[in-house]
Symmetry: C2
Subunit: 333 residues, 2 copies
Amino acid sequence: MRDVARLAGVGMKTVSRVINSEPNVSATTLARVEDAIARLNYEPDVHAGSLRRTGGLTRTIGLLVGSVANPFSGSIHRAVEDVATERGFAVFASSLDEDPSRERVAVSAFLQRRVDGLILTRIGPSQGYLLPEQQHGTPLVFVDRPAVGIDADTVVSDNVGGSALATRRLLDLGHRRIAFLGDRPDIWTMGQRRQGFLEELGRAGVSTNDAPVIDHLEDEVQTYRAATALLSGPHPPSAIFSSQNLITIGVIRALRDLGLQRRVALIGFDDVPMADLLEPGISVVAQDPEAIGAAAARHLFARLDGDEEPSHTTVIPTRFIERGSGEIAPVGG
Amino acid sequence: MRDVARLAGVGMKTVSRVINSEPNVSATTLARVEDAIARLNYEPDVHAGSLRRTGGLTRTIGLLVGSVANPFSGSIHRAVEDVATERGFAVFASSLDEDPSRERVAVSAFLQRRVDGLILTRIGPSQGYLLPEQQHGTPLVFVDRPAVGIDADTVVSDNVGGSALATRRLLDLGHRRIAFLGDRPDIWTMGQRRQGFLEELGRAGVSTNDAPVIDHLEDEVQTYRAATALLSGPHPPSAIFSSQNLITIGVIRALRDLGLQRRVALIGFDDVPMADLLEPGISVVAQDPEAIGAAAARHLFARLDGDEEPSHTTVIPTRFIERGSGEIAPVGG
DNA sequence: TTGAAAGCGCTAACAA
DNA sequence: TTGTTAGCGCTTTCAA
């Protein structure tokens, strides 16, 4: 910056004024300074600026997601980025992999880079460690799952409602023995989906005690085995509600290999790529990650703009997509 | 930091030493300082530090990709992040959407935040504007496509080789009329894939003049129309090589709707999700985005570590995945 | 309309 | 082993 000032033959403060589009710079001076900036390929240092500036923003936000390689996270990321870019903010992203220790490390890395706000998918059991940061004025928005031990803005999918709706569709077709296949039950979203499923069964007067509920399915292979056993067992279900992407795929494989894909109904929570090209097409309860990301970013910037309202939870609706597999009636029913 | 020093009853420099794990701090002092840091929830400011530090790194890199919502980019991002995190670096990511103006804006945003290096998928016609930055010592690595107007490390897929291999497989099955369906031909990767295709035809002595080559297919719908017209026309091909994901999906739909999915062979460049669950499974030339990202990150850090070798282009091999659609022999052949 | 001096949070260089 | 002073690139405050 000193070089620019020297080349333009002005004081540093004048260069500063030009960079920040402040008033009180004559047209001639402005032109000279801009010329010097271009000639020297000068890029002002955002951080050096925010050091002294009152309320000094770095125009940077941090985003913590499951994994940037995961399409759900990617869509959230993109939506956040679009809002951020529009306001001249850059986005740091970090993957957590369901590992609580990474959450702390990543938050700390962002804080040390003085992000102006944080959007995060919590992993750890409590986010109380963020209280001082929140009191200090850093806006926090939780996505996908609510935080524990801290009160902050939150954006989640309508897990309970979406699951209940899927369950209702199966019940309406006449299914009475519907299986629920779930991931680790300690993951908040899984608990919600299971709850939506069981509540809807209850409302329909179907006993929830002997409803086949299988949990702890952590990947496609485990799911395949569990689904195969279930479907070949003494009391196979006539329909399956799978609570997550990878589980849905495992179930599809199991149904295929048993030749049951047109006899047993299947609805998955979370959309599956190419689902409409499979035979039958896979009916799903789709989430709206773009809407989640956009809502989270909007909340964050509202806080940055001075919004002092009490913290707010936004529930993003899910959408049922009919493609065939969820419209199979029970055999003989 | 001053507060920490005061609370611990030491000088600022001592706190600095503790933060940076420098030697010459007694165990007692260390404990007192660490206690004060914990009590005050102090997080050192990375940027303030790098301001004065000689060679001052911000331990931050910038990544420019097509879109963070795109799985190919997501995998590259993740691989880069893994290498970066291991070294205590944070990653800025930005989506370009094939828009040259966004490239400049994003690069500038990163430079103003003083990233220590840049990994980028170029979009604009020339990256000469990065020359001053490169001379200034910022390592640059281009991924997916080589840069124009600047000499820098580059990591790309083996587009020519992968396409030639796919073409050879079709030729070996007896196909002689093979169609190439491509995206915008000005995209470097498209040109390479087309070249691999045509060269292999040439090597087999098949005339490349009347080989059906259709370009400018920018989405699924355009592809569907073009493929339908081609397959219903007077001289339909017995095999199709599609040069990209979305195009492959458009072709699958067209084949399905014409009932030709088991009569016309199809090989796609780029893997397609769930491809093995389709009927027939879709054979593809798969890229390895993780390897691309990992190689790019390794090059970047090697430069940061002082590597002064001439710039180097790494070609990441592709992998042919046989799933059925590419193993269909020509009818009557 | 412009610029000089002080200071943001930190580290380099040097002294104690 | 520890602390002091100057200064990184910028903005503030205030004077010209």
